[in-house]
Symmetry: C2
Subunit: 334 residues, 2 copies
């Protein structure tokens, strides 16, 4: 039986919401869940939320855990027995095929690259998110694993994104675009201009540059960018959406007509929020390491944890790492 | 009398909306407007919109104009008599102190740098926007003038931004932040890590890194970034806002309750839109060249043109270029 190592200690609402998410998944799945964290706390919480007994459940004790405030040095050198490290080691040792954590993204990424190591031929693992657009979904990568990139890295991101798109979103020959600041090949920075040339010469379905404001239109299936730009773009989009929601909440409750209006729109808002919800896939996916690593948002609650676990499961079943390794070997030898 | 050279041919709704914007400003101002564009077309449009006669108005014929589709080569080498170039030459020759265009941003920037030249001591002019936040306004620069930057450029952006903030937004010792992908000084790319060190050693009020999702919270008065990242961030924010508005429009008109709800919320939406409206300042400001250059959004209508002209006027009155030159001399000799 395949297994997922779940970091029970990661996230703003850990361990309670994490275990509630696990509860949603465990009964209807043929996958084993390894709950990694402080054993006593896990047992107490399982009881509290009336988890029930399942044969496909196991607790793996991890005495330490990484917080959101821990610095790079802390989570690299310190805390060798953190739930993140122990979960990753379970994947490395073949006791689990994937891990999910809603904990410190930096800590998961850095430790995953170190413990699981890049796949053969992969120069830089990259963090991918599934971005909701007007037409459907666009995969954006890298959104934070590599702050400084070279053109050949972005080329590999395009290849990894294509494999992920084909297996998880579905669809052959996905359209690949490069994030830039103008549509012409001459627009952009040194990195994008050079990458544009490389992507144009491959047999990938490269459709050219996209700009920040066209990202939401869904013109491309995959958008590649360096991890610095991708991270800023993703966070600006998140911040903008939150900003608007908080304006609605604060501005529209002072006036009785607005209050009624909001009430009437409630179902619409709910659907809209779902449409634009980044938690549909439960997190970001670290592509290019030996094993499946899915990183949930720190604010993940039950539903996001559940979706993250389901994404991890689908990725395990689709054998994403093997397929990326094969595809990279093909294109690098072409 | 001070004068603004107005590019009548620039923008998606030129010349009609541009001249309507001019009409809103002309009667109540002590500034001269030089209408730059195809003379016959301008005269015909003035008549059509019943502009009236004003002594502080003059038409300057420009036979050519740059379109949004023109490429870099086109607007650099071709079209020497474009309205953009002629408007900039009026500033260079001292016949106007500032220019406003809602035309091709790239064409205005490139030609402005070439015709007006950078101020003494300025290594790279930068494009700034006033970003509406939950607390007020944050100036973000560079949003597109320099795709590749060095740390000393970002330092100068901070200095230019401070002068602009003090004069136009108001307030001494503005808080300056660096756009990055983590709050720690160790987070970011090579450029931001190096810039962090430099900014920490100056007497600017440097408060550290901000991330994409905190931009809207208004924690800083000025956010500096390279022109590539800044452009992507700005456009993602614009795209996100448009995306939400278009969802409202499309999703909430199919159901009668939603329709009524929308109607009740109308005044609230209007106020919210105004709060988040990027057209309040009428455009982006090119800081660091010898003269005032304000670039409106291509989709500018009457109100945005009016606001752009008023921003141009305020910048002329505040003598921004002289003050930037003085401040740069001070900090470079410190």
């Amino acid at each position: 039986m395949k297994a997922i190592a779940l970091d029970v200690m990661g996230g703003d609402f850990a361990p309670c919401e994490v275990l509630k998410g696990a509860k949603e998944v465990i009964s209807s799945t043929d996958i084993k869940l390894l709950l990694v964290g402080q054993e006593r706390l896990i047992k107490k919480t399982l009881e509290k939320i009336k988890f029930g007994n399942y044969s496909n459940l196991e607790i793996v004790n991890a005495p330490e855990f990484v917080t959101m405030k821990d610095s790079l040095v802390n989570y690299l050198r310190g805390k060798p027995n953190s739930s993140i490290r122990i979960a990753l080691n379970l994947v490395k040792d073949g006791l689990a095929q994937g891990m999910f954590s809603a904990g410190n993204t930096g800590a998961v990424m850095v430790n995953a690259k170190f413990i699981l190591e890049p796949l053969k031929g992969i120069k830089r693992p990259a963090l991918a998110v599934v971005f909701p657009t007007q037409k459907g979904e666009t995969i954006v990568l890298d959104v934070g694993a590599n702050a400084d990139c070279r053109p050949e890295h972005l080329y590999q991101f395009a290849v990894m994104g294509s494999v992920f798109f084909k297996e998880i979103i579905g669809g052959d020959n996905p359209k690949i675009a490069l994030m830039s600041i103008g549509e012409e090949s001459s627009k952009g920075n040194r990195l994008t201009k050079e990458t544009f040339k490389i992507l144009s010469q491959t047999d990938l379905n490269f459709i050219g540059n996209v700009e920040g404001h066209t990202l939401h239109k869904g013109v491309a299936d995959i958008v590649v960018t360096d991890g610095f730009t991708g991270n800023v773009a993703l966070k600006v989009a998140e911040g903008m959406a939150e900003n608007l929601y908080s304006h609605f909440k604060n501005d529209f409750t002072k006036n009785i007509l607005h209050k009624i209006g909001l009430l009437l729109l409630k179902s619409g808002f709910k659907r809209l929020k779902k449409k634009l919800d980044y938690s549909e896939y439960g997190g970001a996916i670290l592509l290019g390491v030996r094993g499946i690593v899915v990183i949930g948002h720190g604010r993940s609650k039950t539903k996001a944890i559940k979706n993250g676990l389901l994404t991890t499961k689908r990725m395990i079943e689709s054998k994403i790492p093997e397929k990326i390794e094969n595809r990279i070997a093909e294109v690098m030898n072409a």
